[in-house]
Amino acid sequence: MKIRVFWLTLVLLGCVGLVAIAEPTGTLRVAQDTDAVTADPHVNIYVYSTLLQRGPYETLVRVDETGGTTPMLAESWEVSEDSLEYTFHLRSDVAFSDGSPFDAEAVRYNFDRDMGLALDGARYLPPGLTVVVVDDLTIKFVLADPFAPFLSTLDTVHMISPTAARSHEVDGDWGRSWLDVNPVGTGPYLLDRWEKDEFYVLSYNPNYWKGWDGKHPETIVVRIIPEQSTRLQLLLNGEVDVAFKIVDDAFLKTLESNPAFKAEPQKSGEVLYLRMKSRGAFEDKRVREAMLYILPYSSFWADVVRGRGATVQGFISPAIFGYDETLPEGHQDLSRARALLLEAGYSSGLSIELWTLSSFLPIVKPLSELFKEEAAKVGVNVEIVDIASVATFLGGVSNTDVNEGPDMWSWTQSPGINSPWGAPLGMWYSENTPPGRNGEFYSNGAYDALYVEAGRTADPVARAAMYSEMQRILLGDPPAVPVGTWKMYLCMTQSVNGIALGSAGSIIDWYSVSLDGE
């Protein structure tokens, strides 16, 4: 009798305990620098947009911190021998937040929508992709050519509820105007409230298919604070738990020396470039090559950025596939620059206009001033124009007319997927001129050929070799000056765990974040 009571009590306690743990508690407060452009993940997937979108939305697979692909809405998959067919088996226990079921039809609709809209959300998809519904829970992707990064590309297509999209369709807009601010997906957090340019609130989805065991935050509040120093101060004051985009060395040191906080280095694939439009003097590749030797790279990264970044060997970041350590890194060689300019006929001097967007990354301002100073030593007069408006900046640098906009501009590029094929290497494919990313209107036949070939090659060793070769071509005929990459940190209090950014800079998963209770 006593033993029975004992076990009963134990079981009861266990149930109570389970119930107690199963509810998420607490609020995670985040400070981000830029607001999401839209809640519609087929329209825009910049990293600050995905921060919001990855609350309510999920993808078939997810690329984790190591760069490997983990199942998400798809449980398992097979790839055919010829690498042209990918068959995915979907989870059966998933529903959209409006109650409609998640199935293969829904996946097919989403890809139709994504490719139909043909906006930022579709940019990593290979051409000639067909989607076939095999049965309720099986979907097949058929590619025209083998495309090795295909799995990580799937990480960029988020699943929207077709019911929601269809019922709010207006004039064939695929439901865009409604889904712009009303996300309906399968994800762990619902968009509760969104005050544009101020903050948004994500609150937990009680019906989320993974359930809520563990220490998940109940709500996530993301505040939009453009000033880096303010974000830092909010973190130090205890008004936020996580601060994004803290890049200044002094700020990072403050956090690193304070035991209540941590600055976790993230594997970032972002590279900083000075890009050049192929017009005027820059039509001559020798002039562009001369630009590679102007900047005092090492003293910039060591003294000005205080070691929170470094040069890259070649054109891409060491964090992504295809990085080749045998390629040369940027170094200053003014005499070589002078010689090249002389050869090209510009020994008497040259004037270029350089645009910077320092509101996005403050360090480009001193970078541009340093570049101007050194360039003057070889007779190149650089006029710096710091543009405050993102809209104006993009209008000039990605203009469909190559003669519009500046001669040179600063640009940071992250790969988007765990392969340089989409970006940055894809940026310089000659057919990607604006509205694509080839704002330079760069064109190199040998490069193009390799690019197309690499897109079709499945064998990773062969692909890596092609990427190296492509970078060598770029070094001889540069569309841009690869300045380097910086160390990206995610700054937070010690009680936050599980938050990480992928190599593209997007948050990997809100569900994995945990907040130690008070």
Binding site: A118, R123, I225, A391, T392, P435
Partner: protein, 333 residues
């Protein structure tokens, strides 16, 4: 008197109309393509063309102005490119934030400035006067945005440095007037009220320093001038106490130019609110306007400029009325 008012009112309407013209054409001149800005960076040429047509940007400027004015009369300020919401709604939300900041700080600098000015004038030449004058000069010559940064530096550890309220607490009450202090108080949510108050301290302090200094200086010179006037000497020679002289005669007469001074201060105040909102991330109309300019958000720019200018014109009108009420001589001009 009435006809004078009518004429003034009519003049005001014409002025506002002219302002819309100037604002509109200035906005058109801002370099950049608003259709491109609205379409987004990756949009195709066709999308941009479609949007350009939707926004009416392909029509001649005069026609666009006409369209804008027509919508304006219906109360439609257009749709913001950045927030995708009607500009009217945006402004309706942001304006109270700026007004709250301005009025809250006015509660301090108005009396402080007046008292300071009068005190200095009365004690002209004494050390109180000299110290206060030094402070005033500094308060006016220090750039407001710099003072804001300093305050952020000095008080940043103890007080919240950005926003209007702790987000979590903003759920505890309902937005009725948009003036958070009022809303939280009337709905009895004390923690929210305190949070709003603590967020107001630094930006209001910045504004108070600048405004008190300026007002103090002007009031001082005003009162001094009045004190030098003949009727004061007469009053004194009649044997009236200093206090009577001061309050009954001097200040009453000084009131008139002081009203004018406060009116003049409004323009500076608007500038200062803009800068303070930028530094403290205060979600008011100033910050909205600055962001709009950089986003080439034409409807938002025009909406902001017009709103602020109308408020300014309106405030000046009220100042004029007060002036007329105080100074009978002007009424028949």
């Amino acid at each position: 008197m009435l006809s004078y008012l009518m004429r003034r009112w009519f003049g005001l309407v014409i002025t506002v109309l002219c302002m819309t013209v100037i604002t509109f054409f200035l906005t058109q001149m801002i370099p950049g393509d608003p259709a491109r800005a609205a379409a987004g960076p990756e949009a195709s040429a066709e999308t941009i063309a479609t949007i350009r047509e939707e926004m009416g940007l392909d029509k001649p400027v005069v026609v666009q102005y006409g369209m804008y004015m027509a919508r304006l009369f219906r109360g439609d300020l257009g749709r913001s490119i950045a927030t995708r919401r009607p500009v009217f709604d945006d402004i309706r939300k942001k304006l109270p934030a700026s007004i709250e900041l301005a009025v809250f700080s006015a509660l301090f600098w108005l009396p402080l400035g007046l008292v300071l000015g009068v005190l200095c004038a009365v004690q002209a030449g004494s050390w109180i006067d000299l110290v206060s004058r030094a402070f005033s000069i500094l308060g006016v010559s220090l750039p407001v945005f710099w003072v804001a940064l300093l305050i952020q530096l000095l008080l940043g550890k103890a007080l919240p440095i950005a926003g209007r309220i702790d987000i979590a607490l903003s759920y505890q009450f309902e937005l009725r007037t948009g003036i958070y202090l009022f809303d939280t108080l009337t709905q009895g949510s004390l923690p929210s009220f305190l949070s709003v108050l603590s967020h107001l301290v630094m930006p209001a302090l910045t504004l108070t320093i600048a405004s008190t200094a300026r007002l103090g200086r002007m009031v001082r010179s005003c009162v001094l001038e009045v004190l030098r006037a003949e009727y004061i000497t007469t009053a004194r020679s009649k044997g009236l106490s200093e206090r009577t002289v001061l309050f009954k005669h001097a200040l009453r007469n000084a009131l008139i130019p002081i009203i004018t001074i406060i009116g003049l201060q409004l323009a500076d105040l608007i500038a200062w609110v803009f800068l303070v909102e930028t530094v403290f991330a205060w979600p008011g109309i100033g910050r909205y306007g600055v962001t709009a300019i950089f986003n080439l958000d034409h409807p938002a720019i025009i909406g902001t400029v017009l709103t602020i200018s109308c408020i300014y014109v309106g405030a000046n009108f009220i100042v004029d009325l007060l002036y007329m009420a105080a100074n009978p001589q002007v009424r028949y001009t």
